[in-house]
Symmetry: C2
Subunit: 173 residues, 2 copies
Amino acid sequence: MRLVRYNVAASLDGYVAGPHRNFDWIPDDPTVDFARIFAKVDTVLLGRKSYEVALDLGEPAWSADARVFVFSSTLRPENHPDVTVVADHAVERVRALREEPGDGEIWLFGGGELFRTMLAGGQVDRVEVTIAPVLLGGGTPLLAPRAPQTQLALVDSHRYPSGLVGLTYAVVR
Amino acid sequence: MRLVRYNVAASLDGYVAGPHRNFDWIPDDPTVDFARIFAKVDTVLLGRKSYEVALDLGEPAWSADARVFVFSSTLRPENHPDVTVVADHAVERVRALREEPGDGEIWLFGGGELFRTMLAGGQVDRVEVTIAPVLLGGGTPLLAPRAPQTQLALVDSHRYPSGLVGLTYAVVR
């Protein structure tokens, strides 16, 4: 079974984007080893809004040869030839990806609505939140409202020089 | 200047109480040394809702000789002789407490609305969140919505056997 990892940066009050969909609150920290963290990722999952944000930011955060799935009922696939647009059966689609052979990992990039859908559908294995030393007071929640309560088990924690704290949890089923 | 410390337990998604004002998601962890953590606390600040929750829970979490201030414009002081009810000028009242002599500490017990008021008024020195290994998916936010963005500096972190992670921040002014 390939792991689905929800890996995001969040404020201490639980937002993954600021009130203006801004990310300027995430400190640059050269000790964060993205290459190591995402070494086994070959598949990326995004909601429509997160995909638009990622496009705006330019250079994608994932490897150029990763498969990218965007979950949206409004995007027209022909306008986005570099990704696979998934319009329905999102949970079943991700279940099938998890059951593929190999040990490649699946990065649930965001956002909080896709996370809620996949959590409710039992398709998330890891929750990895890097907490930035800031209170945003508003923005896009880490997890969309009215999600199912979910028990986690702490697997790892790491304190970075910038004050970022990385917390890695397994989802308890 | 006496320290005002917002010290709470929160879920990973940033709630300090569950959807039914429940706290059953906070693991018991005998290694949490409350006596040490609150050794210098001689003053406690609560919003009205948090006060009602604390009354419901019975045995208060703070020392029997602590001064307790409840911020509420609806509570009748004569019905609550063991506490001081503060109906207005909340920020000025806390500023005066901070400026008292001595090194006794002030525990901002909660909730998120009083925290927002005090944060906006510049009266919070420390933010101390103990993160429980759970996603609640809803409840009472750690910080009430539309609060000012506030930079923090990580002072300490501690990983407990139960999977609780204690994060202590100073408010950067």
